[in-house]
Structure formats: structure tokens, C-alpha cells
Symmetry: C2
Subunit: 138 residues, 2 copies
């Protein structure tokens, strides 16, 4: 299982890198060199982040990306949502057709409980808190 897929993970690392770089503009090229990620893939990811208002992009020579909002306000849960959709620990099992006892199903209740905990943890984990000590990708 993967709570976090590659694109989300790359997004997190790229954002951390940008914050730490302290530059006002970082290009995909620089990120690729610094983080050793596949360039075209990372580009697609950053484009998505800027469509979603987390980065602001500048085209043209010397262009690149800057944070559009403060790193304390960017949450891992939010990034997961952007790249993977709403966080769900269980997709296709608890539906009327498959599970006739949806309302009373104890297993479903338990999983919902775990899911709720997971979501709340991930929604309170910000990019800036990741930078406290670890995640020193350089």
C-alpha cells in the first residue's frame, strides 16, 4: 500500500527544497540537479502545484517557481488530495452492492475510525514542520 505515491512525495521534497533554498525563484532544472528526480515528471508535478495555487510560476528565460503561500500553511494531507484525490483507506468494498450491511457494519466503522485519525494527522503536518530537523534533501 501507498498512503503517499511518488508524485506526492516528489512534490513534498520539491517544496522543502524550495523553502530551504531561500531563493526567490527555483527552476525545474535546479530541482532536478539537487533532488535527482526525473525532470519531465517533476515538471508535471510542479505545474499541478501551480494550478492549485501552491506555487506561482514564471515563464520565459530565468523563469521558475516560487511558493505562493507560506510553508506553515501547506499540509501533507492537502498535497495528497491534489495528487491522489480524497484520502480514503477503503474504496470499493463498502458499497451497497458488495456490503449489504453498510450501516451496521462493524468493520466499516473501525476502518472509518482509522481513516479519520489518519486524515487528521496528515492534515496537521505542514511542510515547515517537516523541515524542523529531518528531510534535509540537498
Amino acid at each position: 500500500m501507498n498512503l503517499i505515491t511518488r508524485n506526492t512525495d516528489y512534490a513534498i521534497r520539491a517544496l522543502c527544497y524550495i523553502v530551504k533554498s531561500n531563493k526567490n525563484m527555483v527552476s525545474v532544472r535546479e530541482l532536478v540537479e539537487g533532488l535527482k528526480m526525473p525532470g519531465p515528471f517533476l515538471r508535471k508535478i510542479l505545474q499541478e502545484l501551480s494550478r492549485k495555487g501552491i506555487l506561482r510560476s514564471y515563464k520565459g528565460k530565468n523563469g521558475g517557481f516560487v511558493l505562493a503561500i507560506r510553508p506553515e500553511k501547506i499540509y501533507v494531507g492537502e498535497l495528497i488530495e491534489i495528487f491522489q484525490g480524497p484520502i480514503k483507506l477503503q474504496e470499493h468494498i463498502f458499497r451497497k452492492k458488495i456490503c449489504p450491511e453498510i450501516k451496521s457494519c462493524i468493520l466499516k466503522k473501525k476502518i472509518d475510525e482509522i481513516e479519520e485519525y489518519t486524515i487528521s494527522e496528515l492534515n496537521s503536518l505542514s511542510i515547515s514542520s517537516l523541515l524542523k530537523t529531518g528531510r534535509q534533501d540537498k
Copy 2:
């Protein structure tokens, strides 16, 4: 995401059905009729459960499956392990090659924490506790 895949889910339902049936032997055919699952797939699942010592099987005419251990001792976490391997919320991201800061990575620590909680919840959820009120598949 799917914390529980189809085969694990079918296993859980089949076990619940067997417990509730109060018979000393239940055949795949009967389970298929009662639970509306694809027969050959369910068969494969029950075979696995009997290889793992959760069911005991009897071949030949009038054969079928019976519980090999008490339903209070069969845990959802255990069933997940059988069909999906060890419960892991994150597989391929936190490895040296991809994440150079494994030891100090705050994200990894948080996910490990969520994982631990998840595992402990699922390992304390037994088949018999699922039968308390819900999951009345009949």
C-alpha cells in the same frame, strides 16, 4: 487505497457466514449461494485459509470447510497478512535510494506512527466481534 482487498474481504465474510451457520460443515457451493461471490475465486481463498490453519477442509462428497480455531481468535489483521502480506501503509518511498534522510525523516516517523495505530486496531478486531451486531450477511 485499499487497506482491505477483495480476497481478504471475502475471507472475512465467509468466516462470518460459517460461524453464523452453526453447521459443522459448509461447502463452497453453499457460501456462493449465500454470499453471492464468484465461486472459483472464493474457493481459492478458502483453500488458502485452510493452508494457513484457519479452516479445516474435508474432501469428497459432502465435504467442505469448518473453522479450525475459535472465531474470537481470528483477527482481521491476521487475515490481511495472509492475503496481502504484512500491513504497510508505505512501501517504496522510504528507502535509502529514494529518501536519503531515512533516519531523521519526520514524514516517515509520522507515517510509522499511523501505521502502528492501524496495525494494533486491526489486530484486535476479531471475527466474533464483527458478529456482535453488524455484518449480518445472510
